[in-house]
């Protein structure tokens, strides 16, 4: 029973031919493939480089930020130096004014009392 059943199945399930033109249809699709493949390849390459590009951008951003911070600090230092110099200049002027205010008095003192002993 099983043997005849299996024989019948073999007979019923014989492979079916897709037709004479099947090979031509496959080859036609194949000839259309290169363009499709070429179109598909670049995006894959781009995707492969994206992590490297992101990493490079990150490093560049860090370096640029570091450079900007450095410049900012140098600029602040320059301004502080100028402010210090200005402050020293103003102080010096004030001291000069004060000295002049005091100095003439010291100069007149001996003149007002020339030599009391003589």
């Amino acid at each position: 029973m099983t043997d005849s059943l299996e024989k019948s199945l073999h007979k019923t399930l014989e492979p079916v031919d897709p037709g004479e033109q099947f090979v031509s249809r496959v080859l036609a699709r194949l000839s259309d493939q290169p363009a499709v493949l070429e179109a598909r390849v670049p995006p894959r390459r781009v995707w492969r480089w994206i992590p490297f590009a992101l990493a490079a951008s990150l490093v560049a951003a860090v370096l640029v930020r570091h450079e900007l911070q450095l410049r900012e600090e140098v600029e602040r230092g320059r301004v502080a130096r100028e402010q210090l110099l200005e402050a020293l200049r103003v102080t010096s002027e004030k001291l000069d004014v004060a000295y002049r205010a005091v100095h003439p008095a010291r100069e007149t003192e001996p003149k007002a009392n020339p030599d009391p002993i003589i």
Binding site: H10, L13, E14, L27
Partner: protein, 184 residues
């Protein structure tokens, strides 16, 4: 048997090598060698002529890309059946049988010699439609492709006992239909 065929037909051995080298005529010859088998697997798995054609074409296009990895004509046959069956199982699972047309309505099937054969053919196709995709593939690989259960197990990456139980259950179901004389 295959060894004899190889020794008496050296051109056949050469086909794979030429196809690998880019000879489209040789590739066409490879397609011609296996088109019936791959198309029929698709047709009987999917119950749909156009989808079967589409599936078979996709499998051969994939083959063209993978030619450098194909070691021999035996490997080629195994590879084609493996890829076609797995793809067909995936499509059946994804689409379900609901959207697929009845195989009986297609004109691709071999014409039955008499009424008895025709009725038997219908019973077998009905049984195939009722089977789960895995079981359907096992039955087709066994009786359409004439593969041993061991080869089927390897091809489907399935335990041998599962293959045997699928076959046993499918045959039992078919026998039950015959004995029970289920309405056609």
């Amino acid at each position: 048997m295959q060894e004899v065929a190889k020794s008496v037909n050296p051109e056949r051995d050469d086909v794979l090598e030429r196809a690998r080298a880019g000879d489209m005529q040789a590739f066409g010859a490879l397609v011609r060698m296996h088109q019936k088998s791959i198309y029929s697997l698709g047709l009987r798995m999917l119950n749909h002529r156009e989808m079967a054609e589409d599936l078979a074409q996709d499998v051969f296009l994939e083959l063209h890309r993978r030619l450098p990895t194909i070691e021999s004509l035996d490997h080629l046959g195994f590879w084609l059946r493996r890829v076609a069956t797995h793809r067909a199982i995936d499509r059946v699972r994804r689409l379900g049988d609901v959207v697929l047309t009845d195989l009986d309505s297609t004109t691709d099937l071999p014409v039955a010699a008499n009424t008895e054969d025709y009725l038997w053919q219908r019973q077998v196709h009905r049984l195939l439609k009722q089977l789960q995709p895995d079981a359907r593939a096992v039955l087709l690989l066994r009786y359409q492709e004439d593969l041993d259960p061991t080869d089927i197990a390897e091809l489907l990456s399935m335990p041998l006992n599962t293959v045997k139980s699928h076959l046993k259950r499918s045959l039992a179901a078919l026998r039950l239909k015959i004995v029970g004389g289920e309405a056609l």
